[in-house]
């Protein structure tokens, strides 16, 4: 796919300068944005409440959690790897942070840093094992997924960590306007930073090279190992942050935080045009992909689709969204790009 995408960019035109960045940036996104708008419009038509401030707010809120991880996952996938452990890393970081601030009664900021530390550490482990030992990311990160789930049980003894200090609940309840809280603010901030890095900086470009062809990247003097490890750590840290935001939002650290995220996140970013095989895709695209999945889910509820059929619809729509994007690329490829 990645190469295909590469091959399918609009041809010669003026101001190549703009397009050379455009190619990387909007390349994957137009399709999924179209799909998103289409769907939102559809749901809105059937049930105006879909666009009500409340619903939009609720969607944006939950997107912010998974979205934070999607940002990291995109960066990692651009570098040519992926991480199945995000869900349990998120959960583990949450319970660890919670235990630190309850059982050990550490000050909240310290405890939260502890949580991020857990994420960074597991990310580092993933990176080292995959890069240095050459163990497939699928196995290593699935392994960490299991280990994480086990550790969650060990740390918590199976019970949700509750109650948490007021400060945490406060973080979860803060309203920075339009009913959106810190998690959303952080999400947007991380989004902007990550997108800029990938789009505008040498670091970002080197990541694309690494994901495109590791050997070539190495030959032009890029330290591919370091880039991959750093990406793994980024995902780990962001997963941890997301997990702790969920904790704050629910003012409890349940043992099921992040269950099932391993596939959802990857599915979302792939829908957003990020290649599973590395070297192609953008943060904005990946995040919009996630958003699309969430929109579909609550949209189906809002227009009152029967619960059993919701899941079916989600599956179908997910495939259609990607299909739409592929057709678009075909169209561009077939010379109409001008």
């Amino acid at each position: 796919m990645a190469e295909a995408d590469g091959a399918l960019m609009p041809g010669a035109q003026s101001s190549a300068l703009r397009k050379i960045t455009m190619r990387l940036v909007t390349g994957g996104e137009v399709g999924v944005i179209a799909a998103l708008v289409l769907l939102a419009g559809f749901f809105w038509m059937i049930e105006p409440a879909f666009m009500s401030a409340r619903n939009v707010r609720a969607i944006l809120n939950v997107v912010s959690f998974v979205g934070i991880i999607a940002i990291g996952q995109t960066v990692l996938m651009v570098s040519g790897e992926f991480d199945l452990s995000v869900g349990s890393v998120a959960g583990l970081s949450a319970v660890v942070a919670a235990k630190l601030m309850t059982a050990l009664a550490l000050p909240v900021p310290i405890a939260l840093l502890g949580g991020v530390g857990v994420g960074l550490l597991l990310g580092l482990v993933n990176g080292l094992v995959v890069v240095k030992l050459g163990i497939p990311a699928f196995i290593q990160t699935l392994g960490v997924l299991f280990v994480g789930q086990g550790l969650i049980q060990v740390v918590t003894g199976g019970y949700p960590v509750y109650p948490l200090p007021e400060a945490v609940t406060a973080i979860g309840r803060t309203n920075l306007g339009f009913g959106l809280g810190w998690s959303f603010a952080f999400f947007i901030m991380a989004l902007i930073v990550a997108d800029t890095v990938l789009r505008r900086t040498a670091v970002g470009r080197n990541l694309y090279a690494t994901g495109g062809n590791k050997e070539v990247a190495r030959l032009v003097g890029i330290n591919t190992d370091r880039y991959k490890i750093a990406s793994f750590m980024t995902v780990g840290a962001l997963a941890a942050v997301a997990g702790m935001f969920v904790m704050a939002d629910m003012s409890t650290a349940t043992t099921t935080v992040g269950s099932g995220w391993e596939l959802v996140v990857i599915a979302g970013v792939v829908v957003g045009g990020v290649s599973l095989f590395g070297g192609a895709g953008t943060v904005v695209g990946g995040v919009i992909g996630i958003l699309l999945l969430r929109v579909v889910q609550s949209g189906l509820v809002i227009i009152g689709v029967d619960a059993n059929w919701q899941q079916i619809a989600v599956g179908v729509i997910m495939v259609l969204a990607v299909g739409l994007d592929i057709l678009r690329r075909r169209y561009l490829a077939s010379g109409n790009a001008g």
Partner: protein, 294 residues
């Protein structure tokens, strides 16, 4: 030696509610000085009986257990219960009450009367709404226990409060934040929802924060007296909860298995009450949690 050895077989071992049951069982064992072990597929989200049975077999291959408890809410485990009974092991199940004889060899069944729990919740909500309005209904996932409970809930409402509408059931799933946004969506799609009943342990939290996010006043009833749920009821964020006797029933499993192991007789059916508790009746449950060190 004559120490009693008991095995507890439960798929989806990592699920919070299941962990609560396991605690009830193991603490009773400790109290009665039995040797007890818990086995099951560790997943907290996937119900995989096929993966659980070989683990039970492994334990049985290692240790001569005197009696086995098999978690019941899925006919898929019935044939295994029968097999074990066939080996002469006393087998007890809990959380469901299969008709006597429907599972050959099953020695005893413990559990709340699930439909009764649904009934209680329905009556409570019906009265709170004064007999009219719309009720949202959610399950964690689709499984025997929850299905039975929500069916009973619907039936009761239909019978006693004809003017109350119950919305189609939605599935909360295992990701709390996703469940929450679903709940919000339901509230927005149905402006007249005045109450919500959820058949899973997370429901109270889901609906409480959903009603906060959508700021709507709801009569919320959910499941399970974990501390956070009790607090939500205490603080008035939820009306009440169905006090599934998770802890007691699990303790009773240990007790009955022990007696069977020592050759005593026990009754087959051991129903436990599943009352709906509200702000006024919380105290004893807080004490129980304190005792359990939670």
């Amino acid at each position: 030696d004559d120490t009693v050895r008991l095995l507890w077989v439960q798929p989806m071992r990592g699920h919070p509610v299941h962990r609560l049951m396991q605690a009830g069982f193991l603490e009773k064992c400790a109290e009665l000085e039995y040797e007890c072990e818990v086995v099951g597929d560790p997943s907290a989200t996937n119900w995989d009986v096929a993966a659980t049975i070989p683990l039970a077999e492994a334990a049985l291959a290692r240790t001569e257990y005197d009696a086995v408890g098999v978690y019941g809410p899925d006919p898929a485990v019935y044939s295994y219960m029968t097999d074990l009974a066939g080996e002469g092991l006393p087998v007890v199940t809990w959380h469901v009450l299969p008709e006597e004889g429907s599972v050959p060899g099953l020695a005893a069944a413990i559990g709340e009367d699930i439909s009764n729990a649904g009934y209680n919740a329905a009556m409570a909500i019906g009265e709170q709404l004064g007999g009219k309005g719309t009720v949202a209904l959610t399950q964690g996932a689709s499984n025997d226990t929850e299905n039975t409970m929500s069916d009973a809930f619907r039936a009761t409402i239909a019978e006693h409060f004809p003017d109350i509408v119950v919305l189609p059931t939605e599935m909360e799933g295992f990701d709390p934040s996703a469940a929450e946004s679903k709940a919000v969506a339901m509230l927005l799609a149905n402006p007249d929802v005045a109450a919500a009943f959820g058949t899973t342990g997370n429901s109270i939290q889901t609906w409480a924060s959903a009603s906060r996010k959508a700021d709507r006043d709801l009569v919320i009833i959910g499941m399970d007296y974990i501390r956070q749920n009790l607090d939500l009821v205490r603080d008035g964020e939820a009306y009440g909860l169905v006090a599934q006797p998770l802890y007691e029933e699990s303790a009773l499993v240990a007790e009955l298995l022990g007696r069977l192991a020592q050759g005593e007789e026990v009754d087959y059916l051991n129903p436990l009450p599943a009352p709906v508790i509200t702000a006024d009746d919380l105290q004893p449950y807080y004490e129980m949690l304190d005792r359990a060190g939670q």
